[in-house]
Amino acid sequence: MDNTTIIAMVSIITAGITTGIGCMIPALGQGKSISTALSSMAQQPDASQTVTRTLFVGLAMLESLAIYCFVISMILIFANPFWNHFIA
């Protein structure tokens, strides 16, 4: 195996693992925050507007953690700096 093959293999495997773990753990956090928000909305329906707004902001913050991992795996697959270095 030459250098480019090794780099391609390692990048693809790492990209998969990165997106996998990076989706799993934020999903747990998002599920927890949604369930807490739902139960608090059931207890206090008057505050549901505030809770919903805060929930959406919080969800998007958590979502961006998963997106960071996604960006890294996209860079590994489509714009890999090491791959470009060895090709050039």
Binding site: A60, I67, V71, M74
Partner: protein, 240 residues
């Protein structure tokens, strides 16, 4: 495969490059300015107002309320900056309903520029409100040990702002592109609808985070003012 509209280059001369991101940004800016100028040219205060004026009024009052809810009392002062951020990002993200449009926010250069604007605006507003010393004092709150962490957080939150917006919009476009090759009939439409929601939420989050950062930099003066007001009230009470 293209990751960002930066790679479509129209004209290049040495350091200066004109790519799709720049062109789209300028077209969006032109459209926004043109619509605003046309609508605000004939504003009315009657009972019957034009539809466009109604939309603009809803936008401005809504943004004012949101800024006030975060804790900035004089929201009109910050509306220019935060409102511009929100309207530009929301409009740029919503235009994905047009075919063969690539949002400029899916390029890291645009989002980094917007984040740097927030990075610079925070100390400017803070110093304008409280003065240099009072602003620098926020870096050693609550204790002196926190100084390096405060500086690191200042930089890392700018990076997070840029990458969050870029990643969300870029991933939306990329997923549509990938799905087009797998299931070309219905799923891309659904994903585009999801992209509209994500775009609006990301615009909201970007501007609300900018508001929170500015509020954190300017809040000291409000405390001081209320303390001063309390003192004045006490004096008045004591005198009478």
């Amino acid at each position: 495969m293209e990751l960002s509209p930066d790679e479509t280059i129209f004209w290049q001369n040495g350091f200066i490059t004109i790519n799709l991101t720049l062109v789209t940004t300028w077209v969006l800016m032109f459209v926004l300015v043109l619509v605003s100028v046309l609508v605000t040219r004939k504003l009315r205060t009657d009972l019957k107002i034009s539809r466009w004026q109604c939309i603009l009024e809803m936008l401005v009052t809504g943004m004012n309320e949101q800024i006030k809810e975060v804790g900035l009392k004089k929201s009109e002062k910050f509306l220019g900056f935060i409102g511009t951020l929100f309207i530009f990002i929301a409009f740029a993200n919503l235009c994905i309903i047009f075919p063969s449009y690539e949002p400029p926010t899916s390029s890291l250069s645009t989002t980094a520029a917007l984040a740097i604007c927030v990075f610079l605006a925070t100390p400017i507003f803070g110093i304008a409100e409280n003065g240099v010393l009072q602003y620098l004092k926020t870096f050693i709150e609550p204790t002196f040990i926190m100084l390096p962490f405060n500086i690191i957080s200042e930089i890392s939150r700018t990076l997070a702002l840029a990458v969050r917006l870029f990643g969300n919009i870029m991933s939306g476009g990329l997923i549509v592109t990938i799905l087009l090759s797998i299931a070309p009939l219905f799923f891309p439409v659904l994903m585009t609808v999801l992209g509209l929601i994500t775009g609006i939420i990301q615009a909201y989050i970007f501007s609300i985070l900018a508001t929170v950062y500015i509020a954190a930099a300017t809040e000291e003066s409000d405390k001081k003012k209320s303390r001063r007001k309390d003192k004045a009230n006490k004096l008045i009470v004591a005198e009478t």
